[in-house]
Symmetry: C2
């Protein structure tokens, strides 16, 4: 099963100036694609910190996505950080440069040297284009560099999403009236017996309107296996405590 990591780069998220909507979006997308999201890091605008985090993620995960820190200003340090992670210099990319030149020409404005900085990428970067995209996605090894602006993050991810599609997850849920302490031994038993099924237990502070106090989730890429695990857990729990299953 492919796994992924997400690195959100930006002081504005850590300081609460901007609400991070790219993370919830990517969580949903990766889940729907059947990709396990293994870790999220939210880090500051700092080259060394970006470099260290990208290195760690690129070593551990199949796919790494970064959000933010691309642009022409002093606080846009993602390209430099990714370059540090892979020990390569930042270089002006001829194809990106000409895309930028054409863009500014089409607006009949002179391209500023500062705007051309957006063509400076880690050496060896590849460009992933698509007919829907004005700008391609910059990719370095297994790291996909996406911008922080939510509309653009979304558009760029959607243009490359199919390359990540994997076997889908299958989810079963059981909603029970009991507290976690009472059901823990049953969960242990099923978790031990069905190693290929991820089992979660999520209590509420107060019972929900329908009376459930704990939501149990069972998840696997094997539909038959997760169904068996769910059925066996339900019979251990007993019908009295089960409000509903899905």
């Amino acid at each position: 099963m492919a796994n992924a990591g997400l690195i959100v780069i930006g002081d504005e998220i850590l300081s609460g100036k901007t609400t991070d909507t790219n993370t919830p979006f990517l969580i949903g997308e990766l889940r729907a694609l059947g990709v396990r999201l293994s870790e999220i890091a939210v880090i500051a605008d700092d080259i060394a910190g970006i470099g260290e985090t990208v290195r760690r993620f690129a070593d551990r995960f199949d796919h790494v996505f970064t959000s933010g820190g691309v642009g022409p200003t002093h606080d846009d340090l993602t390209m430099a950080g990714v370059a540090v992670a892979f020990g390569v210099p930042v270089e002006r990319h001829p194809e990106l440069s000409s895309i930028l030149q054409s863009y500014y020409a089409s607006k009949q404005t002179t391209v500023l040297e500062r705007n051309l900085r957006m063509a400076d990428v880690p050496a060896g970067a590849t460009l992933l284009g698509s007919p829907q995209l004005t700008w391609p996605v910059v990719c370095v090894h297994n790291v996909y560099i996406l911008p922080g602006i939510p509309e653009v993050f979304r558009r760029k991810f959607e243009a490359i999403r199919e390359r990540f599609r994997d076997v889908p997850f299958h989810l079963r849920q059981i909603f029970v009236t009991s507290e976690e302490g009472e059901i823990a031994r049953h969960l242990d038993k099923i978790a031990q017996k069905y190693e290929g099924v991820a089992i979660g237990s999520y209590p509420l502070l107060n019972a929900a309107d329908d009376g459930h106090r704990v939501k149990i989730t069972l998840e696997s890429k094997d539909a038959a296996l997760v169904q068996r695990a769910s059925d066996e857990l339900a019979s251990l729990l007993g019908v009295e405590m089960i409000i509903r299953r899905s």
Copy 2:
């Protein structure tokens, strides 16, 4: 200036089964307290991974907060992970144990062995109580262990928040009509001259209703310094491009 790290523990966040509201809450709280949030990690329910992340954060940041993974079920691994981080065993805490016993006695239910597991904490942990709290906050060195349930996370943090209060941040904002490329050189100049002021530049995809395309933020713990930097930047930018300041 004190800094902090937040570690959110839970497969349910990474898989999108639960929306993480503790992070936005803590971002706002720490900002209001004058504490710099330096990094956020969202990680899976895995003892080794929790241990490694807690170790890294505890070494780097003044205060570390964890969210989630405490409770009586098999997927509640935060205490074990924090114990690994500090190389200590998990032990039953007599005071926590008696609090749990009293709680179940007050509900006239027998306390289950599984519920008493919530009294198992890393050796050397201290308890931070307050009159508002039924359960104290468990603290190991500079790591504050908070539960994932949002209402309880919030209540527990609010009970201990004053111990983190620091000199407040001062924020100035300038909203401009220009693109980032046009203002980048002015930002560079102010960023270089005022090292004690953090300067951010946040573009919109399309101009806002009031016409601004970029929000510039200037922030510091020195109110006079940030005001000077903001005034000097405004005069570099020129009144024509400034929509408003705050």
